[in-house]
């Protein structure tokens, strides 16, 4: 930039649009036609989207069963931490009156579990989870090392508090022999989580890879033995683990647990009938007065969106329409006055 100094005083300022503040520009003007038509259009849009979303949400079949109280004795058992090695199972029968068409997803839902506390979110080590540095437990306080100083893998409060109930859904076809509903435990994580964010340390043998570390205090088994059935689903790459590690934004949340494998009887989805959840109750929630439930749900193109969005859109659309009508009224009333003013 040029300075208008005393010496170079005979400088005529440049006659550019920028310097003379004459840049060609669009002058924003809230004209009546523009605003009103904008409002009407927005109203139409919102109402349309709202109705579609509501219809969408209505088409979703969802069933939720809270099992903290149903499995009350298990809950009581788990309140005492010393009983960690005692197994407790609980069966919850329920009746599905309508077929759940299409893909069915099974979630566990926790009430009052604060995955969004500042120190909780922070308490993990990504460099450990990505398999590069198992010993890096710097951020994992207060679960970084065991009493004897061995680093915990996976370290941190998030990993330590993993949801460890096992839920098995059975279908009572003829009210006699329950059929285990085939469930997939794959495809419940983000691709980036499974293939970028979480990696096992590179060793031929997973257990030796985790040598020199210890399991989190609340865990029954070390991380490389999480899934006995599928050896590929162990270590940091365990899907349930990855799902848990993606912390929830709010104290009440549901996380995807399994999805229906549409084979045999279940190609169309879950047929109506009698079912039961067989739950191995491990995760204590009564300690913090929380609750847990299991959810079965279908899905639409917009995901399992709730009614909220649809309702919000509908209301917004309606209000916008109302507003635009009243604005139009005001505008028409004042139009004559305004013209008078301008002619003055």
């Amino acid at each position: 930039m040029k300075r208008t100094s005393k010496d170079g005083r005979c400088k005529l300022p440049d006659n550019t649009a920028l310097k003379q503040q004459q840049l060609p520009a669009y002058r924003l003007q809230l004209s009546a036609t523009g605003v009103l038509s904008g409002f009407f259009a927005t109203g139409v849009f919102c109402l349309g989207v709202g109705i579609i979303l509501i219809l969408n949400a209505k088409s979703i079949k969802e069933i939720e069963i809270k099992y903290t109280e149903i499995c009350g004795n298990c809950a009581k058992l788990r309140e005492d931490a010393t009983n960690f090695d005692k197994e407790c199972t609980c069966s919850i029968p329920f009746y599905l009156s309508e077929t759940m068409q299409g893909n069915v997803y099974m979630y566990y839902k926790l009430y009052g579990f604060y995955q969004n506390l500042y120190r909780y979110i922070l308490s993990r080590s990504n460099s450990q989870l990505v398999g590069t540095d198992l010993k890096d437990v710097g951020n994992c306080a207060p679960f970084s090392k065991s009493h004897d100083g061995t680093p915990i893998a996976p370290c941190g409060a998030i990993a330590n508090s993993i949801f460890n109930d096992t839920i098995i859904l059975s279908y009572n076809l003829n009210s006699s022999i329950p059929i285990k509903v085939p469930m997939l435990r794959s495809g419940i994580t983000w691709w980036t989580d499974k293939y970028v964010k979480f990696q096992n340390p590179s060793y031929i043998n997973l257990s030796s890879a985790f040598a020199g570390t210890t399991k989190p205090p609340s865990w029954a088994k070390p991380v490389y033995e999480l899934d006995e059935e599928d050896p590929g689903n162990n270590g940091f790459l365990n899907d349930d683990f990855i799902v848990w590690m993606r912390t929830a934004a709010f104290p009440t949340f549901k996380k995807l647990y399994r999805r229906l494998n549409r084979i045999q009887y279940f190609t169309e989805g879950l047929p109506a009938g009698n079912y039961s959840f067989n739950i191995t109750y491990n995760f204590p929630v009564t300690r913090f007065r929380g609750e847990k439930s299991v959810v079965l749900s279908t899905l639409t193109w917009s995901g399992g969106s709730s009614l909220f969005l649809g309702l919000a859109y509908t209301v917004t659309g309606a209000v916008t329409w109302l507003a635009s009508f009243s604005m139009m009224a005001v505008h028409l009333m004042l139009k004559d006055r305004k013209m008078l003013f301008i002619q003055q």
């Binding site: 999805r259 917009s302 909220f308």
Partner: protein, 1202 residues
């Protein structure tokens, strides 16, 4: 040879032995100053300051520490430093350290760069001044030295037109009697020449060898800033010589009309009066600045409140829930109770929520102001073609205040007027000359003037003189006796000195520009004043040299209001020529010329109506006897120091005619004043000039009009008189039929009632007050009375005011009116006022640059003021207000989300957004669009703000950004933050992604909220931007693009692979933003946040439109209708006002001429002058100088003495 009536007290004191003890040293312990000529060793003992000046603040080494220290004295910067320290405490820290340090370093760096550049230019100008060359007498020979190497006690030689390097004691000069002429424009703004004289003993030291031997010692007062006084003693050769200001040449003066002179350095560098006067400029802050600081404090209070609420929430939560949740998340080791946890979370929340006090606010404000300053510098319409000077914004901190000015205080000479006098018209024995006629004989309009009169017949004519009426020249050539006598008078009756460097190359040295104009006119019309001696005047009358014997000059003064000369022409007739004010002269005229009198009076009225300064010319033939008698009487009178009215001066005289001189107003002054008045800006003229001149100018620049109900003139000499006059003025205003209220409150009560009563006054009044009365009116017990009276008047003119009084008047208005004041002036006498006012404007391109140096804005013509205020100022204010509103809005919308989230995350000080987003939000994602708006926005085109001066009013009333507007912005911000949090919350709580996985994970939520925030604030800035230039488009779209680019980059696999612990959001952007639900949420949030704003604005536009809205709307309609062009009507004036006596208020060279002191020794027969009279002349000149300085009203007639 003449003696003033009374011995001025000042001189009496200066002549007495100086009383050091009374004077306090201005600093340090220097009680008196001793300087011995040519003795550096001796002078070094005292360690006086050298002549090196330093205005810069830093050098390379000290820059960083000093600058940082200065910057951390800013409250905002310390606040952020404090935050930074807080963040380093792990228990408290809820954000990474870089979220604060990156913006802070950026802010500090920008400011440091700016300071460094400023200081660099100061260094440069210091160097330039310090390296000027001057000739110093060292070891008996003259040597070239740089200014900075000149020491106290050195003798330096100055040459014509050189700047004086330091405060010097004048020793000798090329002129006789050690006289020398200086121009003090840089010091006091007066452009006329002043005389200084060396004391007699040193004035003979003309050659170097004698000067080298000079070893006198000066003992004088310590350095001070009083320009007009100096007291000291010269000890030389065992005798003492008193020294006064009359012997001093001050730094900053320019030597004129003197070939050379020698001076002894007494004060050097920072001790000089010039430097002592240029104290560091007080840092000016705008009212928006102050408001902003208050608001920041409020916000800080608000922040603490939020912190407390959340801390209490945290304590309760930890107590109720947290204790039971400890199996999953045990408390920190240091935390032993819920209460302590709450305490820590208070600090954590202070850190998180600190973004409500935006760190980039101050920097952005600076950047915007800098942009506005550049626009002022670049403005072609404020570039003066004639002087080739652009407008200059010398400070970059006051721009928006230009949009709020309510009072303009203007100097007259050089500001409203050009200080150029032009012989414009004349009336000779009843005939008026000088109208500009076009070919058809009609009065020509400006701009279509025909060719000026050709003076080529006269080899001595001044080419620069222009006259458009050829009839006058014809009359001269025809030999019309009246015309000849008229010009003869002009060539004889004056105190101008001539200088003829080459044959025919005449230069006139006039004490007042009026006289110069008249003599030049006579010269061009063939009556060339060629030279003068104390006894004679030689005039070339139509080519033949005629020498008149000069018998007496009766110089003008304020009582007589005329000047006369008595000359004997070659034929031996004695004639008295007189020119003077019409009021005085017309009543002394011979009654038989009644008819002539009335036509001349008509002409005078006509001239005055055009704003010209008029003089009436008359003559009288005297017979020898009468003259002899008078001369005798005069001599006696002067000897007796009698002040009685001199009878000769009041005899009847015969009218010759009248002249009209145009005190050339600067271009466009009346229009500018009219426009500013329409914009509700009150203009006060503060001038050092005489009342008549000031009032005259008031009329010619349309401040005063004949439509005015009354012009009050306050000229009281005592407190009581002034009070009475003010009271009467008020009573008249209230008594007038227009007056709304008639209950007059006692002035002593100075209650608010007084204000309200006087502000309701209808009718137009004006107030003229002179310096004497002003001194009383500004006393503590009367200032409010004065102020209220003055503010009720449409126009206020203060004349004969001192620089200090100018500042006092400004200060008075500033203090009691809570209004923004602007002072505009060109001379050093305006410096105090310029520094006092909120905004100081200097007129550049004149000779003195003191005013410009002290000013905040400088341009070369008064008329640019309208553009500065109505266009630049208005826009600056508008932009700054819009900027601030938006800025607070966006930060509240951004930050308050954390507050709402606090209720859902156990008050654990978890942020909603990614920490990178927090770092970059203010400095990258949202900074440029709002800056572009702050720099480029326009509500109406610039022509409209000139057409509708009322558009300026919102600024004066401070409507666009005040506490109310602030709360509206805050409310909007909070509203946005509520929606920004709760809509995604509502959606996320239940929803899942389209592949069935969880949607409501923290990171997706963070990205959704951040994205919708960026989009909402971008749409909002789009709405706020009234003027979408390509730059705005670029910045707004660019910001959005940058947001997404950075978002995807930060969430990319590559960065995660490198720093897995820093970039935790890997894969988030593509996973989250691929969800239709997320986009539906963002859209809904945007619609819900923006629609009410649009609706509100639209309704306001329909129901309660601003003037600017209406103008804009009209514009739109007009464009459709192909509108007609409006143009400002030029206001014409017919006035009955008679202009006054048109001379400078200082007496001329009359005495000097008659004494012959200024004549070259060679050119004069000095025999007739006794030594006694010569010394007495100098005495009396000195007295007169100090007299006119101390008592402007002056004495009565100067009695003649021969």
């Amino acid at each position: 040879m003449t003696v003033p009536k009374e011995m001025p007290e000042k001189w009496a004191r200066a002549g007495a032995p100086p009383s050091w003890s009374r004077k306090k040293p201005s600093w340090g312990t220097e009680e008196e100053r001793r300087a011995r000529a040519n003795d550096r060793e001796y002078n070094e003992k005292f360690q006086y300051a050298s002549n090196c000046i330093k205005t810069s603040k830093y050098n390379i080494l000290t820059f960083l520490p000093v600058n940082l220290f200065e910057q951390f004295q800013e409250v905002a910067n310390t606040y952020f430093l404090f935050l930074l320290i807080l963040q380093l405490i792990p228990q408290v820290s809820s954000l990474s350290w870089f979220t604060t340090i990156v913006p802070l370093v950026l802010v500090l760096a920008i400011t440091a760069v700016k300071d460094a550049t400023d200081d660099y230019f100061r260094h440069k100008s210091d160097n330039q001044v310090n390296n000027r060359q001057s000739q110093v007498l060292i070891n008996g020979s003259l040597q070239q030295e740089q200014w900075m190497n000149v020491c106290v006690g050195d003798i330096i030689k100055l040459e014509n037109n050189q700047f004086v390097a330091a405060d010097l004691l004048l020793l000798s000069s090329s002129e006789p009697h050690g006289l020398c002429y200086i121009e003090t424009a840089e010091l006091d703004g007066e452009t006329n020449m002043k005389v200084r004289q060396a004391i007699p003993v040193t004035s003979e030291l003309g050659d170097i060898s004698r000067l080298a031997k000079f070893d006198g010692e000066v003992v004088c007062e310590p350095p001070n800033n009083k320009l007009d006084r100096f007291s000291g003693t010269l000890y030389w050769k065992d005798s003492k010589f008193p020294l006064s200001n009359q012997n001093m040449l001050l730094r900053g003066c320019v030597l004129r009309n003197t070939e050379w002179c020698f001076g002894l350095v007494v004060f050097a560098g920072p001790d000089t009066k010039l430097m002592q006067n240029s104290g560091r400029t007080k840092f000016k802050r705008t009212s928006i600045d102050r408001l902003m600081n208050t608001l920041v404090l409020w916000i800080f209070g608000f922040l603490v409140c939020m912190g407390v609420i959340l801390a209490i929430g945290n304590a309760i939560w930890e107590h109720e829930v947290g204790t039971r949740f400890q199996a999953y998340l045990p408390w920190d080791e240091a935390v032993d109770s819920a209460f302590f946890s709450g305490f820590l979370s208070f600090w954590s929340y202070i850190i998180i929520l600190n973004t409500v006090v935006p760190i980039s606010l101050y920097v952005s404000v600076e950047v915007i102001r800098l942009g506005h300053s550049y626009f002022i510098n670049w403005d072609k319409k404020m570039f003066c073609m004639k002087k080739r000077t652009p407008a200059e914004a010398r400070t970059t901190t006051l721009n928006e205040e230009l949009g709020q000015v309510e009072y303009v205080f203007s100097d007259k000479t050089g500001t409203l007027t050009q200080n150029i006098m032009v012989f414009n018209k004349c009336s000779i024995s009843g005939r008026s000359y000088g109208d500009v006629l076009d070919v058809l004989g009609h009065k020509a309009e400006l701009g279509e003037r025909p060719e000026p009169v050709d003076f080529s017949f006269n080899p001595l004519a001044d080419n620069k003189f222009l006259f458009w009426d050829p009839t006058l020249l014809e009359a001269v050539k025809m030999g019309d006796p009246h015309t000849h006598e008229f010009f003869r008078l002009l060539s004889l009756c004056h105190t101008v000195m001539s200088e003829e460097k080459n044959e025919g190359e005449l230069y006139y040295k006039a004490q007042s520009p009026d006289e110069g104009a008249l003599v030049t006119a006579a010269r061009n019309f063939g009556f060339v004043f060629r030279s003068r001696t104390p006894k004679t005047i030689t005039v070339h009358e139509m080519g033949t040299a005629v020498t008149y014997q000069l018998l007496a000059i009766l110089d003008f003064n304020n009582i007589r209001k005329r000047m006369s000369v008595i000359v004997r022409n070659p034929e031996g007739r004695i004639r008295l020529y007189c020119k003077g004010a019409d009021t005085i002269l017309l009543e002394r005229l011979h009654p038989c010329t009644r008819e002539l009198l009335s036509t001349t009076t008509d002409h005078l009225n006509e001239y005055a109506g055009e704003g010209l300064r008029t003089l009436v010319l008359a003559y009288k033939d005297l017979d020898e006897e009468y003259y002899g008698e008078w001369a005798q009487r005069r001599l006696q009178a002067s000897l007796a120091r009698d002040s009685r009215e001199d009878r000769l001066a009041s005899v009847y005289e015969e009218l010759l005619g009248a002249t009209a001189i145009e005190d050339k107003l600067q271009q466009g002054v009346p229009e500018t004043i009219a426009l500013l008045t329409l914009a509700n800006i009150k203009i006060w003229v503060l001038t050092g000039d005489k009342q008549e001149t000031a009032v005259n100018i008031g009329y010619s620049c349309k401040m005063l009009t004949d439509d005015m109900t009354e012009v009050f003139i306050v000229t009281g000499h005592t407190v009581l008189e002034v009070r009475e006059e003010l009271r009467k003025a008020r009573e008249k205003m209230l008594d007038s039929p227009h007056a709304v209220g008639n209950g007059f409150t006692c002035p002593e009560k100075r209650s608010a009632k007084l204000t309200s009563v006087l502000e309701a006054v209808a009718g137009e009044y004006a107030l003229v007050i002179n310096g004497h009365s002003l001194a009383h009116a500004l006393e503590a017990d009367m200032e409010l009375e004065f102020l209220e009276t003055a503010c009720a008047c449409k126009a206020v003119i203060c004349c004969r005011v001192t620089p200090l009084q100018k500042a006092q008047v400004v200060e008075l208005v500033k203090k009691h009116k809570k209004a923004v004041t602007l002072a505009i002036g060109d001379g050093a006498n305006d410096v105090s006022m310029i520094k006092t006012a909120h905004i100081g404007v200097g007129i550049s391109g004149q000779e003195g640059i003191q005013a410009v140096l002290a000013s905040d804005y400088a341009f070369s013509q008064f008329k640019f003021l309208q553009r500065l205020l109505l266009v630049h100022g208005r826009w600056s204010y508008l932009r700054m207000c819009k900027f601030l509103c938006y800025f607070f809005y966006k930060n509240f919308a951004f930050t308050m989300v954390h507050f709402w989230f606090g209720f859902f995350c156990g008050f654990s000080a978890q942020t909603v957004y990614d920490q990178y987003f927090i770092t970059l939000y203010n400095i990258v994602y949202t900074s440029l669009p709002v800056l572009a708006m702050g720099v480029f926005d326009q509500d109406v085109p610039e022509q409209r703000s000139m057409e509708y001066p009322k558009l300026y009013e919102p600024g004066q009333l401070n409507l666009l950004f005040n506490k109310r507007e602030f709360f509206i912005c805050i409310a909007q911000g909070i509203y946005t933050s509520v929606l920004m949090f709760f809509i995604p919350y509502g959606v996320f709580a239940e929803a899942t992604r389209d592949d069935g996985t969880q949607l409501a994970d923290y990171q997706s939520f963070a990205v959704t909220v951040a994205t919708s925030l960026v989009i909402v604030v971008s749409v909002q800035i789009g709405l706020d931007t009234g003027y979408w230039t390509a730059i705005n488009h670029f910045f707004i779209w660019g910001s959005l693009a940058i947001y997404f680019a950075i978002l995807f980059a930060m969430h990319s696999n590559g960065l995660f692979d490198m720093f897995p612990n820093q970039f935790r959001f890997v894969g988030n952007a593509q996973n989250t933003l691929a969800q239709p639900t997320v986009w539906l949420t963002i859209t809904l949030t945007t619609v819900v946040c923006i629609m009410p704003v649009v609706a509100f604005r639209f309704l306001k536009l329909s129901l309660k439109p601003d003037l600017s809205d209406t103008v804009r709307y009209t514009q739109l309609v007009r464009k459709k209708q192909k509108a007609q062009h409006r143009c400002l009507q030029r206001v014409g004036r017919t006035s009955s006002r008679r202009s006054g006596y048109a001379f400078s208020h200082q007496e001329g060279f009359g005495e000097l001429i008659m004494s012959g002191k200024n004549m070259r020794l060679s050119s004069l027969a000095l025999a007739s002058f006794t030594t006694r009279s010569s010394s007495s002349w100098i005495e009396s000149l000195r007295r007169k100088k100090s007299d006119s300085a101390s008592s402007p009203s002056g004495g009565a007639d100067k009695p003649l003495k021969e």
